[in-house]
Symmetry: D3
Subunit: 160 residues, 6 copies
Amino acid sequence: MEGFSHLDKEGKAKMVDISEKAPTLRVAVASGTVRMKAETFRKIMGHEIAKGDVLGVSKIAGIMAAKKTSHLIPLCHPINITDVSITFIPLEEESRIEIQAEVKTLDRTGVEMEALTAVSVAALTIYDMCKAVDKEMEIEGIRLLKKSGGRSGTFERKQP
Amino acid sequence: MEGFSHLDKEGKAKMVDISEKAPTLRVAVASGTVRMKAETFRKIMGHEIAKGDVLGVSKIAGIMAAKKTSHLIPLCHPINITDVSITFIPLEEESRIEIQAEVKTLDRTGVEMEALTAVSVAALTIYDMCKAVDKEMEIEGIRLLKKSGGRSGTFERKQP
Amino acid sequence: MEGFSHLDKEGKAKMVDISEKAPTLRVAVASGTVRMKAETFRKIMGHEIAKGDVLGVSKIAGIMAAKKTSHLIPLCHPINITDVSITFIPLEEESRIEIQAEVKTLDRTGVEMEALTAVSVAALTIYDMCKAVDKEMEIEGIRLLKKSGGRSGTFERKQP
Amino acid sequence: MEGFSHLDKEGKAKMVDISEKAPTLRVAVASGTVRMKAETFRKIMGHEIAKGDVLGVSKIAGIMAAKKTSHLIPLCHPINITDVSITFIPLEEESRIEIQAEVKTLDRTGVEMEALTAVSVAALTIYDMCKAVDKEMEIEGIRLLKKSGGRSGTFERKQP
Amino acid sequence: MEGFSHLDKEGKAKMVDISEKAPTLRVAVASGTVRMKAETFRKIMGHEIAKGDVLGVSKIAGIMAAKKTSHLIPLCHPINITDVSITFIPLEEESRIEIQAEVKTLDRTGVEMEALTAVSVAALTIYDMCKAVDKEMEIEGIRLLKKSGGRSGTFERKQP
Amino acid sequence: MEGFSHLDKEGKAKMVDISEKAPTLRVAVASGTVRMKAETFRKIMGHEIAKGDVLGVSKIAGIMAAKKTSHLIPLCHPINITDVSITFIPLEEESRIEIQAEVKTLDRTGVEMEALTAVSVAALTIYDMCKAVDKEMEIEGIRLLKKSGGRSGTFERKQP
């Protein structure tokens, strides 16, 4: 049955065993932006979108999604996050809204995926609430900015 | 209590009532890409990532996420999707993997958010499986390519 | 094995078979109120609660909970709701906030439970966001106000 | 972009950072009651409801809901509860059933919301199982009775 | 990039597109059994298990699991089941409890997986509730007994 | 109200309070097999099933299900598993595929149910992916092989 051992070597899907890791404070910061028409940007800022307060809803969606990360990303460990904080940075000249998410936990593994998931779902929610007026909105630059805690030490993204 | 009527006018959060819409075949296609180091790209293609078959797992994560869309995006209607199909287009020269998702339903509302959610979670899963070797991977260009069915007719994105 | 047939007669847990029912427009309206200290009421109205915009978050929580009803109430059928709309009626003299939820579907069963669940979770969310300043808040009078569609006709609650 | 800083000050939605809190035994007790017609009360007690053993199903629904609290209440932290116990106190003269839920955890935040959610969903389940015979049932008096553990000390509700 | 087209041919994970199928009444019946020590069997029948009414809880777990099938089985379509009915057949001489689940829907695809999932989770719940007294319980013979509706016609298992 | 105290004694549904237990490394290993036609076995091994790479998808489904155990099994405690590892052992002569799942946690209760749930859902997924070619596949012998950690010590199943 060599086919199988081959499959096994390829891994197919393997969770990382974190049983031996120490629980420490782990923090991750991720960001992403939603690019839109200038008019859409003005409507979001001026609360003129019919579906409601866009950034308020986006923030909650991002927070709730962070808590569901291990049910979305197949090999993520379930962890109890101790904080999620989402900030919006409106970039008026470029008609873009930047989303930043910081997630914390005291556990055996990092929270990069939780921060990236929070940003992604917050961005998707902005798209959903504005798609009636702007179907060409685009989600860009979802990336990890920073990560600390754990054996591998602190990571800070060099390029912006 | 004028503060409240003001809140009401702003909407705060309002689902769109689709009770009067007709159930028709609705299709949406979305795409997005994951940009990475050339070495990471080669490892994914060559099945050398320790966590396992990256694109196989990413595809399943995307499909399963499409089915959870209405639990992630607050104002999305629950709908029964009849198909999700995810395709990967490896762009070797740019060390990028493009993800395309097509979603179908026979219902009263479109499936743009389902297609965009499938792409986003598939991309996040690629990040998760490769983050041990490349923390600077970036998710780019998540957007709606096409949408058909329903009263508003067919939408096709002009710029690529 | 008479114990068992007895169990069977008692039912233990029996979903109602709705396969033969016709899909029609079904609407349900439910309400409930949160009673609090006068000071808490003023803080909610004046957006002075540290955790954030209380009613905005409560509304989203109620909408999302309506979509999860069949996963919370064991014998509820999964249905695709076509609208959820939540309204807050501040009753300043009594320091109470009334929550009303209207839910619609085009399906084979009513949406009473969806409306009642939306009200309950919206109320719980108000409690959560204000519990740091008022642990004695109380959720009262969760009830069905109205229900239409389906074989059993229209129900309207007599007592208020 | 002052609109935004204003939004930020209002909070919009902010999880409380519990990273610095100590994990200790936390207990919360909540209660609520379902008021019904005398005949409905007798049917529940006598196991004559067609949908099945009402209180047995209600108890399980309450326990399972407690475990889902952080997915229902947007700003609740995910925590691993170590016990949920639900008790029914039938009040025959008033045709009411009182539900009490006690929840425990060893974590960095309290379990008030878990106990209140358990009571609410247990009550909604009683409504669901009996609504065919009594649509005017009403859920009343959902409140926190007691809470211990954590920095803020023990809380005990004065009024009953 | 032949590796990829190879992957594509292998399929990796492909949902079946059911958009063109007609919604009809579909029924599936599945069964499975839990084999245990004679003493465990007697305790379940006599309600002497400390964790509570074993079969009552098992039934609800099975019903709720049927509703979650599309979130558990990656390529299953989300469908709105119209009925789940679970029956227990105690086989005293063999110290086994047989579980039968019948599921119905009016949709574009069958409900075999829903019926099999209901049986499996009902069986796992019996294990959970009795594992303190009998860790060697074994779940056997989970299989599809019958299936009707849809293009492929009626299936009935020949061997018992 | 003797009916009630009787209900109480029967337990109806009682979570075990694990607040006083010590968090230690707990490991559980479970297994189960899927029996099929010889031709189905060959198709799975040769990657000829139209729905895709059967064992790759089954493995992910099993891992994701292990993380959902406390939402499937009513009285299970939510715990943060630190590892899930699933192995397939093809038994060509008998046309069976054995599934083994090992789950670990550092918590106050064991992970038997998580390992058994992983095996069950992995097996159901194999059924789902192959049911178009073999509806008579059967899931057999789901059982706990081994369990260590915690007050009750190590359990190892005697009969195979």
